[in-house]
């Protein structure tokens, strides 16, 4: 009887992970922008941008995007590495960009569909951008910039709701920790589900 229970639990767990590939990253390098992933709308779980002359990109170990809602603010937390992309994220080059969007209040990840074709003016005072590395967090003084969700897709797999795919572009000019920097050619294509959507009630 004990073995039947173990088998049953195993089958349940295996069934819950049937879309494991949808949570992994598919990094197809953009030939026109070396080091960055191609812009796509497949939910490939990648992002990238030029941070000055370095690349800020997603990797294969960190969750590329967490969407966090708390107190009338929704934060898009992009976790990646600054510099060369390796399979295993090194603590030395771990880098995070957090874009906060004031006044947007999703209750579930499905509500992120309201972001379809939304452009966030990063220069507006109510929205912020914070960069973090192992040495600390630095709020950027935005001189100009945009964060655009070009497409939000409600994804069904075999007719079952699975995730919301957010795909878009971003760029900005800012002063970060006293240094002027341009973040250019930013792009992202990431699936958001209950696993990476957080709602603090």
């Amino acid at each position: 009887m004990r073995y039947i229970y173990i088998l049953a639990i195993s089958f349940v767990l295996l069934g819950c992970d049937s879309d494991y590939e949808l949570k992994q990253s598919v990094f197809i390098e953009d030939e026109a922008s070396p080091g960055l992933p191609e812009y796509s709308e497949w939910g490939y779980n990648t992002f990238g941008a030029y941070y000055g002359r370095e690349t800020f990109v997603s990797n294969d170990t960190d969750v590329p995007l967490n969407v966090i809602h708390e107190n009338d603010v929704t934060s898009f937390e992009f976790n990646g590495i600054l510099g060369k992309r390796y399979y295993n994220s090194s603590q030395d080059n771990a880098f995070t960009m957090t874009v906060t969007y004031q006044g947007f209040n999703p209750e579930t990840f499905e509500d992120l569909m309201d972001l379809h074709d939304v452009v966030i003016d990063l220069k507006a005072a109510e929205h912020t951008v914070v960069f973090s590395n192992t040495f600390g967090s630095y709020q950027a003084e935005i001189l100009s910039g945009q964060f655009q969700i070009k497409r939000a897709q409600y994804l069904l797999v075999d007719k079952q709701p699975t995730q919301v795919i957010l795909s878009g572009v971003f760029r900005m000019q800012a002063v970060v920790n006293g240094q002027a920097i341009t973040i250019s050619d930013g792009r992202f294509d990431i699936g958001v589900s209950a696993d990476n959507f957080f709602n603090y009630l």
Binding site: Y20, E21, S25, V26, F27, N59, R85, Q153, Y154, V157
Partner: protein, 249 residues
């Protein structure tokens, strides 16, 4: 369609219209099988899969296996002009061509982009896509027999076949059998090969029979099949074998 039938009829009658000065004529009954090495093109409807070890990739197709095989049966007339070592053959040929893609590794399915309606996108989990096509065509072949008067004689040949597609069927194997109702729509997404293609090959083998060989067994290498023969895979080159029964006319 009328144009194709007329073209096939005219070309296949060619051997019968040759001058009576030729030394010998044979009727050939042929069957053969080719296996073609192919690649999976970057289909716009298949989601790329992640690399097993997370390295860079600009070619998702390594996770999708592709296969193609081609079997045929033909009736040909072979004639030898004044120089008896060189023979020309043509006739009618039926070809059955099968191409297939499936996922390599675990999980054993890939995601197919099924529908996009407004802001809703649908994927289907697909284990395998297969395309089967039938062709009627005309083979054109030249064979050279350097030796004769032996029981086993080598021969070498080159040829081409002109193929006109008469039927195509696309088959999908879904991870969830409940999705079988969408097979027809998926077939429309996969599409059909071109109506016509030409392939070429080289051949070498053994003819059995001292004065009038009655059987040949040949190795077909290489076989070149164009992209026009499949909307599912990109054929490159292949190899095969064939068996011919020979009857003098």
């Amino acid at each position: 369609m009328t144009y194709r039938i007329l073209l096939i009829t005219v070309i296949s009658m060619f051997p019968f219209c040759v001058s009576a000065q030729e030394r010998q004529k044979n009727i050939l009954f042929e069957v053969g099988l080719d296996v073609i090495h192919c690649e999976t093109p970057e289909n716009h409807y298949i989601r790329a899969s992640p690399e097993p070890y997370g390295s860079y990739t600009d070619d998702f197709s390594h996770t999708i296996k592709s296969q193609m095989s081609r079997s045929h049966a033909a009736v040909k007339v072979e004639f030898f002009p004044k120089w008896e070592k060189l023979g020309f053959a043509s006739g009618l040929r039926y070809t059955y061509l099968s191409s297939r893609i499936e996922k390599d590794g675990s999980p054993d399915f890939f995601y197919l982009l099924f529908r996009q309606t407004g802001t809703t996108t649908e994927y289907l989990r697909v284990k395998e896509l297969e395309q089967r096509s039938s062709y009627i065509g005309v083979p054109l072949e030249v064979r050279y027999k350097p030796f004769s008067q032996k029981r086993f004689n080598m021969f070498f040949g080159v040829g081409a076949d002109l193929n006109f597609r008469v039927a195509t069927k696309n088959k999908s194997t879904f991870n969830d059998p409940a999705m079988n109702e969408f097979e027809h729509e998926v077939s429309g997404i996969v599409g059909k090969p071109d109506a016509f293609y030409v392939s070429g090959y080289g051949r070498a083998g053994v003819a059995i029979g001292r004065e009038n060989p009655w059987l040949t067994v040949g190795l077909t290498l290489p076989v070149f099949v164009p992209d026009a023969s499949s909307s599912l895979v990109k054929p490159r080159f292949g190899a095969g074998f064939n068996v011919l029964i020979i009857k003098p006319i």
